[in-house]
Amino acid sequence: MTDDLHTLAGAYALDAIDDDVERRRFEAHLAGCETCATELREFQATTARLGLAVAEAPPPRLRDRVLADIRDVRQLPPVSPRRAEVRPRRWRRTVAAGLAAAACLVTAASVGVAVHERQRVDQAQAAYQEVAFVLSAPDARSATGRAGGGGTVTIVASASRGRVVVASAGLRTLPSSKAYQLWLINADGPRSAGFLPDDRSRPVVAGAWRPVDRLGVTVEPAGGSARPTTTPIVLISAT
């Protein structure tokens, strides 16, 4: 690891990195550095003690409120544990870029969410969890394609999860009458997999992905097309 990133571990554990790019760089680095991840865990256990030392009971009404609230909150399913152990080394490197890209986009997605809009926060979190669900799969594979016309599209796909995360950067801005439509393409032909969001910084998760599928992106009328009507600007295979 570079000294530069190494010294960030303390600031990261203290949530003292306010520059998203810098934080993402560190997180991407963590994904491939076992000793750094271990160090960070120790750091977090240490900073937790700073928190424990200033404990102060909340008003009793909060307890009732929280216990009432959770009845309406669905719990997330577990992700595969021990993924660090089963994850082959090579995968970590390959996927680090994708992970960094997606994590960055996820961060971007959650920034600017209005404080009191609980629902939007929940949606952002749900989207984040959905992305994390794919990224954390032991068999996740990532690939990046350069789009004709500029920009890149990165995918992280997992056969075991049956999903693919699609993130883009620097794609040409389209008029509001057009949209970037996603396709999963195999020998049987293309199937629509939704759109890149207007907020291009947000990654999307497309379901029903199989290892034989390639991901294509075409420019379509804003409402979408049943079949691609233009040549894909990019075509990516994750295998």
């Binding site: 190494h6 010294t7 960030l8 571990a9 303390g10 600031a11 554990a13 203290l14 949530d15 003292a16 990195i17 306010d18 520059d19 865990r41 120790e42 750091f43 977090q44 256990a45 240490t46 900073t47 937790a48 003690r49 700073l50 928190g51 424990l52 030392a53 200033v54 404990a55 102060e56 009971a57 909340p58 008003p59 009793p60 909060l62 307890r63 409120r65 929280v66 216990l67 609230d69 959770i70 009845r71 909150v73 669905r74 719990q75 997330l76 399913p77 577990p78 992700v79 544990p81 021990r82 404080v115 926060v121 979190q125 969890q129």
Partner: protein, 217 residues
Amino acid sequence: MSDPMRPRVRNAGGTAFRGERGMPAETRPPGDGLVSGQDADALLGRTARGDERAFEALYDVVAAPVHGLARRVVRDPAMAEEVTQEVMIEVWRSAARYDPERGGAMAWIMTIAHRRAVDRVRREQAAGEREARAVHHGTGAAHDPVGERVEARLEHERVRRCLRTLTHLQRESVTLAYYGGHSYREVAELVGAPPNTVRTRMRDGIIRLRDCLGVER
């Protein structure tokens, strides 16, 4: 500095000492970190399986640390309550995502809590509300009812003692970031040191704290 856990220049541009007055009477001991840590591990495991009673018991173990931390960081009592509520709901939601091999439940929850509190502060800052409310206080304010209340307590005492083993700059860097919710760049501004130095001191400071507190390695 009279209390190493109370950053001296914390209120530069912040909400000053809004939180200092009218401490709630029900302030309770933080308890021994280890005991509640083990409780929290078991309870979080049951919470992950949808056990609402386990979550209730978990709430009783972790609500005070979570709220105390939120209170320290965001200062505003109403906001601290909101942050605590958000954190506890997040714990319920994500309980199954907790991986015991990656650290204790208490550390996991406190990490979520700190992040939420800091996010809240940064959003407020971005919205300009924090500045609008800022009152410029001096560096006095040594009187700290919360600190005095918990001072005798074990965890507080240990942490205090260990914070004293840090160099001045290490301690300021760690506490301004952790309790003050400041980024390392802001800390650099506040203490008048280069950002690179501050982030190095943060890491060195945590390492020293880790070793002093005997955090499992």
